[in-house]
Symmetry: C2
Subunit: 178 residues, 2 copies
């Protein structure tokens, strides 16, 4: 059935890189949130939805300070920027390709900054119908140290938010990893 | 398209009575959460979903204490129980009728107790794919006094939870009302 643009549900999915592997794979919780959205919400009604993938890159302040003797020239900064961009695009490609395969419309983009702040800002700007976030499902003790993006967004994002916790059989050895 | 039972997404919607009118109408936020679910998630894919309506009735302790000279006999208790039951069924009828009209499978039931505890307990028992809750969207000052069921469930329910805030143009004169 053809669905008019007005009745299409726009779901924003915030995605990030895995902390486990060296290469820019999607994190376990990002993939979980994405698969949940397809399986439980979109189902076979591909034309009824549009997925909006937001990837927020965190400026690597520590790394930057450690290396300011190495990243000295404007060219160094440029190549660092290009590398970040390539990593981000590679990450988004995973989600976009999957959407193309199953015929769900999508958009994707990269922003830099504090993920929780940027996500809420982009929600305000884009006004999606739903924001889907993956979460590591950390206990209160672990949360104190790592903070959680999802808790902040549930409180502050100006749209409905659903948090998809990692399945327990997908939790890596160190649950802070993802 | 026929959808097998296994791939049907089961969405629990917790519903309650309005505090505004005398008769057991659905609260503004319950209706908002329900309409959001139909419009944004179910859309025209009625066979892909099953809605599970849970209504938790709060034992009216204050009213009961005030009236213990009136509610003296077993028959009085029985008629009070029947009246509660009738009110609950009337409330659920609104949601069930609407589902029948648009061809979405549903179930509904009534429980007594503290809504936040009962909702989390029923989530554990029923294991829905998603819990949808209406919320008055109160500010932090008001929340201190009235508490919020949705905040508790977002933290403690063992399934993904989405909270649908009341539209600002639907907020009654006293925002604590619903």
């Amino acid at each position: 059935m053809a669905t008019s643009e007005a009745s299409v549900t726009r779901i924003m999915v915030a995605v990030n890189e895995s902390t486990i592997r060296g290469y820019p794979h999607a994190s376990i919780s990002s993939r979980g949130a994405f698969e949940w959205t397809l399986q439980k919400i979109v189902q076979s009604n591909a034309s009824g939805f549009k997925l909006l993938f937001l990837h927020v890159q965190v400026p690597d302040e520590d790394g930057f300070n450690d290396m300011d003797s190495i990243y000295a020239s404007p060219d160094d900064f440029k190549s660092m920027k290009n590398r970040d961009r390539a990593r981000g695009l590679h990450l988004l490609e995973f989600f976009v390709t999957r959407c193309h395969e199953i015929g769900v419309a999508c958009e994707s983009w990269i922003k830099k900054g504090d993920p929780k702040e940027v996500i809420c800002h982009e929600v305000k700007r884009i006004q999606p119908d739903l924001l889907v976030l993956g979460s590591r499902g950390l206990g209160p003790f672990q949360r104190v140290f790592v903070g959680t993006v999802s808790e902040f967004c549930v409180k502050h994002a100006e749209c409905p938010v659903v948090t998809i916790k990692r399945r327990s059989d997908e939790t890596p050895q160190d649950p802070v990893d993802d």
